[in-house]
Symmetry: C2
Subunit: 205 residues, 2 copies
Amino acid sequence: MYTLIGNPKNRSFRALWALEELGLAYEINAADPRSEAMLAVNPTGKSPAMVDAEYPDQAITDSAAIVQYLADKHRELSYSAGTIERAQQDAMLHFVNDEFDSVLWMNAKHKFAYPKEYRRDGVIDGVMYELARSMAVLEDRLAQQSYLMGERFTVPDIVLGHCIGWLKSSKLDWPETGPLNDYARRLTSREAYLRAAEIRKGYLV
Amino acid sequence: MYTLIGNPKNRSFRALWALEELGLAYEINAADPRSEAMLAVNPTGKSPAMVDAEYPDQAITDSAAIVQYLADKHRELSYSAGTIERAQQDAMLHFVNDEFDSVLWMNAKHKFAYPKEYRRDGVIDGVMYELARSMAVLEDRLAQQSYLMGERFTVPDIVLGHCIGWLKSSKLDWPETGPLNDYARRLTSREAYLRAAEIRKGYLV
């Protein structure tokens, strides 16, 4: 039994999607970032956190760490640690985090997330320059395979799938045709994704 | 046998440090980011990459993925995948990547790494605001333990140790006393760090 702490409208969705992919039993405590419930389990106040009932006093923070933990524990969605395939998968996870999550987050910081005195105009230009370059790398990769790691759906697909939704909801440029768009459709057609997305609808931003 | 591809003056240092911690045999090809040699193994051109002679055609990219691969393969510097301790360790690694590496990198992008037309003035203010907040979280944590994960030196310590050096060489504010500074001294007193730092001296920026 797992308790997901975080609102599925934010990065918590990644953990929700993984729980659905793995068919695990869970409940949701839709605490907001920096709320009392979130600060109690994560000193940074960032969403999400997750509690595994086997270790009730050791909440896990960070969406990617949560998804990877579930994948390793239940032996699905991931190659095994110490293999060359896992090294490639981890590299892809960090690529997605660095080139999509962090870049989208830089945009969000300067648009609304930072206190006003730290926001700067025009940061979006560098953001779009970076995203275009990273999307070109992925277009090449996904022209030849169904998922980031080949034909197997793994942890970085969940993180990138969430980032693509974030990118689209931020109204940033997105290629409406081609391998990356086909990949996005493939992700959002998965049964577990559809279940998680349906659950997400029940929560407010 | 391992071949580290990248200049030890950049993030490649993390892999070099890990190789020294583990006492492994390696050689260095100090290729620059976006050089022909780097693009041949990493389509993004980012440093470092590493080749494990067991898998000569499958270069590993991303410094954190390389360090974690070495740790898992040689069963040191890391908790085992699927354990609650590894989940905490991964969360700490992502925290360091998100709150130090990405923030320092955002600063570098707007100072020199972006083409001129994308650089914006004053991004440093948000960078300093974020770093101060993250350093406060670490001061609390490191007041009670020697390393990020307790008394055991693990993968995220290597990444943070490198980021602290980067922060200092960027001339950003650093607390010259207290738990975080003590921690930094502990890291840079390690024999493997000292050996790696000595090797780094032989390379140009």
